[in-house]
């Protein structure tokens, strides 16, 4: 395909603080349309803070976040809200609205932002629930279903408005290996079917290699991004021992590029 793929998200010279404590300095990366971009790093490296900044919940200490060239944090609140409607977010714990049924959870954004009739909304809700394998659960409350199902229902809500960008916060946290795998497959399907750009914050290696087109590794000690690129290529080509250690769970230090690693 000859056309150049434009970046959907651009992060420029971004500084992140947690309370008064500096966690990340001078972040620079961009995410292209339709790719799955992974933000990875050890616990406490600022992954979640970065996500909060990206989805518009927390103003960064310094720097810019651009969506299709528009600087998010320089817009007024109304424009910011408008931009946020293009996002779908899957929170770590699902964050379904507990006083609503699953159906109402998914229907609410549709009621607010589309001109669909009640009947049409019902149809869309059923479709979205079917996409995540929860047909027939529309009348259930979040407290009545398991954690894994809550997460899938939350994904159905996140994609209710067919968002351009979907953010995942630790999608496999608290899930058994099979459910985690299923969520990974769902992420890949969403990319193929909706053509959405997907940003995943995780430290789960299996997911990183399974779904990631590109990945940025944040490092706690240097408070900076120490690697960016396709995770498999990073593992094969990186000379940075920190990158190799992270991607091999510390089992390989820094071996020469291209060599198979043995236990």
């Amino acid at each position: 395909m000859g056309e150049a793929v434009k970046p959907v998200i651009e992060v420029r010279n971004l500084d992140l603080d947690y309370e008064d404590y500096a966690v990340m300095r001078g972040l620079d990366f961009s995410v292209k349309k339709g790719e799955i971009f992974i933000v990875m790093g050890g616990s406490g490296c600022g992954k979640s803070t970065l996500l909060k900044v990206l989805i518009g919940l927390k103003e960064p200490a310094k720097g810019e976040v651009l969506y299709d060239g528009v600087n998010f944090w320089q817009q007024d609140e109304a424009s910011q809200q408008k931009m946020m409607r293009r996002f779908g977010v899957l929170y770590q714990g699902g964050a379904l609205w507990s006083s609503f049924t699953l159906g109402e959870n998914i229907a609410l954004p549709l009621q607010l932002y589309t001109g669909l009739s009640a009947g049409q909304i019902q149809e869309v809700v059923e479709l979205k629930l079917a996409l995540v394998g929860l047909s027939g659960y529309a009348g259930f409350y979040p407290s009545e279903i398991s954690g894994g199902m809550c997460k899938r229902a939350a994904l159905a809500r996140a994609i209710s408005l067919d968002p351009d960008i979907i953010f995942f916060d630790e999608p496999s946290a608290g899930l058994d290996p099979l459910s985690a795998r299923m969520l990974d497959d769902l992420i890949l399907q969403l990319k193929d079917t909706l053509g959405a750009t997907i940003v995943v914050v995780t430290h789960e290696l299996a997911s990183i290699f399974a779904v990631g087109d590109n990945a940025a590794l944040l490092d706690t000690e240097s408070k900076s991004m120490i690697a960016i690129g396709n995770p498999n290529e990073l593992l094969a080509n990186s000379n940075d021992p920190r990158v190799i250690r992270f991607l091999t769970r510390g089992e390989r230090q820094a071996a020469p590029a291209g060599k198979e690693f043995t236990r």
């Binding site: 947690y18 008064d20 404590y21 518009g56 977010v89 964050a95 954004p109 607010l112 706690t220 000690e221």
Partner: protein, 374 residues
């Protein structure tokens, strides 16, 4: 056998520490200070070795003893030989003594007194700003509601109205009747001295309708619904549900706070009216039975004493209290820290700030009424 230490010097400059007995945390362990004071006696010591030939069972008590001893000796430049220590002890020590390079974020060290005062002042200032900010947001949301632009879930609103109104009736009845009875008794004791017991009717009627009905209903609602608003919204904050509203472009104030404020603003005056009635009924019952006043006379006195202006003052109290309770509850809930402790603090602070504000508001309204002569 309890843990014990003893010392000897196999060669000069080397202190041998004999660790005998069972080194269990539950049984108590010797302090490493015993070794330190032994070192102080013999300043020429450059090395410590251990004799573990009589060491019985051990757990992290022994490791903790050794860990602190090694740290102390490090600062005194005395070598500590790990030889002779059990393999498990050795491994745990290596793990604990490993140097971590990550810098530790500053953790609130004890601040000087003036700093703490300044922090507190800034905190209060920040609190006032966030209150004004919140009131502004509520006002804007109300404006949108009037213009029909706000999203409003009728079913949920009705549910909240029911919780703030009908479900509170029993409690309001009980408290108001008792307050009416108390007022009647206190009044009767004083008025009996002058043979003017019938004026109990005036006291109960005016006090209940003008202020007590509203205040009692408000205190019940602050404890009941103000606290539940704070807990509900606080838990939503902890579960990231509030974040989910924000990222959907939905204002939590419009969606969650507005219906609660509106419900209480509608229900508080009605509850006030109800509490007034129950209070007067309580006073009537006790006056006509125990105090043996004439029922018809009592009724006529109540009718002539309680004027319409008193009722309006009472209803205005109720209206203002409704806003106060809802705003305190919802604001504390939305400001809740993301922990179980945070929800507890939010709930407590919602009730405390609501009741304090209710009393202050009562004083202000009473003063204004005095000035304008109502």
């Amino acid at each position: 056998m309890p843990a014990k230490i003893s010392f000897d010097y196999p060669i000069s400059g080397t202190l041998r520490v004999k660790l005998s007995g069972d080194w269990q945390i539950s049984a108590g362990i010797p302090s490493e200070n015993e070794v330190i004071s032994e070192l102080a006696k013999n300043k020429a010591t450059v090395q410590i070795v251990f004799d573990t030939s009589e060491t019985g069972s051990w757990d992290s008590g022994l490791v903790s003893f050794l860990f602190h001893l090694i740290k102390d000796c490090e600062s005194k430049n005395i070598q500590v030989s790990h030889q002779g220590l059990a393999q498990g002890v050795e491994k745990l020590l290596t793990l604990a003594l490993k140097v971590h390079t990550r810098d530790i974020p500053p953790k609130g060290a004890a601040e000087p007194f003036l700093d703490r005062i300044a922090d507190k002042v800034l905190q209060i200032y920040g609190g006032i700003l966030s209150l004004l900010n919140f009131l502004g947001e509520v006002a804007i949301a109300f404006g949108r509601l009037i213009r029909g632009k706000a999203y409003f879930r009728r079913d949920e609103f009705i549910g909240i109205v029911q919780k703030c109104g009908a479900n509170a009736l029993w409690l309001v009845s009980l408290i108001s009747i008792l307050v009416g009875i108390i007022l009647a008794f206190i009044g009767a004791i004083q008025l009996k001295l002058f043979g003017a017991q019938i004026f109990v009717a005036d006291i109960v009627g005016i006090a209940m309708v003008r202020v007590m009905g509203a205040v009692m209903a408000a205190i019940i609602m602050a404890g009941r619904n103000g606290a539940s608003f704070a807990a509900e919204l606080g838990l939503m904050q902890v579960n990231e549900e509030i974040d989910a509203f924000k990222t959907m472009g939905i204002s939590p104030v419009e969606f969650l706070v507005m219906p609660r404020v509106l419900a209480l603003v509608i229900m508080m005056p009605l509850l006030t009216l109800y509490a007034d009635f129950m209070g007067i009924a309580g006073g009537f019952l006790i006056s006509t039975s125990v105090l043996e006043l004439n029922p018809i006379e009592y009724w006529q006195h109540t009718q002539s004493a309680v004027r319409l202006s008193n009722l309006w003052v009472g209803l205005i109290h109720g209206f203002v209290f409704g806003i106060i309770i809802a705003v305190c509850g919802c604001m504390r809930g939305l400001q809740c820290e993301r922990s179980a402790e945070g929800i507890g603090a939010a709930t407590t602070s919602a009730v405390v700030s609501a009741i304090t504000s209710i009393v202050i508001a009562t004083a202000i309204i009473t003063f204004i009424c005095q000035v304008i002569g109502v």
